[in-house]
Symmetry: C2
Subunit: 347 residues, 2 copies
């Protein structure tokens, strides 16, 4: 089925997935064949074993665990199949799992407890090896109780149950990256325009913004909180530049998301204020379709969500493999993607 | 488990899903209990049957088929888990299926034939009842052969195999909606700015644009083909308004997607050309995050992708139920979402 499957280098361990691909069967079938389980013809079993011998397959401890009891399927529960946050995260989960020959069973529970319960039951029926729960925001629970399942659960970009393992982005660290970048470029009057006060990340980022300015002995102006929209970016520029004299204007604006930043930049251009010459702007999310279309292209904080998803997938596999994990929330670092909206360091 | 489960009105048939929810079990378990199959305690089976009796459950022909042989799971294959086209489509599929108590098993095959083969094998291992294939664009095949599976397959927003059932948006019809809307508003010099010539939809939409203008005895200017980007929208405005005298300017621009339209509107504003007073603009895709943030908000053609996904889900269930379907491509209508970028009809 895969005529190009050839023995791989002796330096890289052959995976069960490679055996399966070379034999033209699923990973689950290959697992059963090598483990002497499952229903299949003797010819098929022998052919798969011969393929494994030919490739030099050596089951490692994870693989042996897989051989014993696994279905090679994990459930991914989300209430956000539209969102641009959960999508890269889900892609990262898939990438991590497919490398181990594991398929993902995605269910959208929306905001419906009964629907969530049905989907969890269906996942248990399918004997998934574990469940990853993800959502729209890190300060909300999914509308389903996962605390008493018989299988491992990892939470990623959603509020974990008590005693569980949760992975989230380090929003305060991301905000630090932005403000410290402005400082390195010589900006000193830095404003912060962000989303609604009902979001925990708004406060985490605003606090980091204040902390960095205080640590550097600079004036802190109160963050302007509004909506996650371009329209709010326009409005915030009116507030910041409408009344004060030129000497009161900020020389940098750290925005809570890329849409706000885009609105800010458009509004500045329409006032004849130059970006980045007069004012530097940084966004948050690094949503490329927005950040790259902004004029000039937008420097933005990236939450590394696909890495976060990848880590969640690997953490789940460790739990499935019987390795204990410390409960609690683990924060993964953000990174700053520099484009043209902040300019170069001063001479 | 669901204390709020109460007998439903006698006018709406009770579904298996409702029985399952009321009994606090999965649909598959409820199915097995009512069908005398599966492993469970006699107490559980009797409890589920009592719940079904209490609710007045009557298996219909589809439900009876379900009771016989179904796993209540379908596979959704895609090579586009990021895309804004497949996401609403996938949500529509899920909505349609969850109404029937069916869970969706989503796999991303990327552009990798071996990965695709592995995922299809995993789906067959899990005994999915059928597969829906969807992708990034309607003129490309998924990188996996689904033509000889033992289970039903429906293609949605991707190129179907010969002899299969495919559902796609009616792009020509969508373009007609846009151009005819301009004509009703009294616009007569209508330009078309679209994406790359390598896309089949670019030609389908351009041909419909030409047809409508010819049918109305109006001048057809050659469509400007470029990229699916805001930057191309800016560039196209330079081409259309840069050299010609004012009398050569179009009074309407039909754009191939919303990003182009946004670039067009921004570029017009920067030239002091008023939208919609001087020039009306229509986009395509109705990507709300773009269409609603455009100033003025953008009138756009919506491909009704979640309806398309819903229809694909229902078509798959019909096939699973043994009802034959005519092979070939079925085009589903678009609709025009009117916002403020075209103005009102002339007095």
């Amino acid at each position: 089925m895969s005529p190009d499957a050839s023995p791989v280098s002796v330096n890289t361990p052959v995976t069960l997935r490679e055996v399966a691909a070379a034999a033209g069967v699923s990973v689950a079938t290959a697992s059963k064949a090598l483990n002497g389980q499952g229903r299949m013809t003797a010819e098929t079993r022998e052919r798969i074993r011969e393929t494994a011998r030919h490739l030099g397959f050596r089951p490692n401890s994870l693989a042996q665990s897989l051989l014993r009891k696994r279905s090679f399927t994990v459930g991914l529960l989300t209430n956000d199949t539209y969102g641009r946050f959960s999508l890269p995260l889900m892609a990262g989960v898939s990438d991590a799992l497919v490398d181990k020959g594991v398929s993902v069973f995605l269910c959208n529970v929306e905001d419906d407890t009964r629907l969530g319960q049905l989907h969890v039951e269906a996942m248990l029926d399918k004997r998934v090896d574990g469940i990853i729960a993800t959502g729209k925001r890190i300060d909300r629970h999914l509308p389903v109780d996962l605390s008493n399942l018989r299988i491992p659960v990892i939470y990623a970009f959603t509020q974990p149950d008590a005693g569980a393992v949760g992975l989230v982005s380090d929003d305060a660290g991301g905000a630090r990256l932005a403000v410290e970048h402005f400082l390195r470029l010589g900006r000193r009057r830095i404003a912060h325009v962000s989303g609604p006060a009902s979001f925990a990340v708004v406060h985490a980022r605003a606090e980091a913004y204040r902390d960095v300015l205080k640590e550097n002995g600079l004036a802190v102006s109160e963050p302007l909180l509004g909506a996650w929209s371009e329209a709010w970016g326009h409005e915030a520029v009116e507030k910041l530049f409408g009344s004060a004299g030129r000497e009161g204007w900020p020389d940098a604006i750290f925005c809570g998301n890329d849409q706000i930043a885009r609105g800010v930049i458009d509004a500045l251009r329409e006032r004849g204020i130059r970006v980045p010459d007069d004012v530097g702007v940084i966004g948050f999310d690094n949503w490329e379709i927005v950040a790259e279309a902004t004029r000039p292209p937008l420097t933005s904080v990236d939450m590394n969500l696909s890495t976060l998803g990848r880590e969640a997938g690997l953490a789940l596999l460790s739990l499935v493999d019987g390795q204990p994990a410390a409960p609690g929330i683990r924060k993964l670092p953000c990174r700053l993607v520099v484009r043209q909206s902040c300019g170069s360091p001063p001479e």
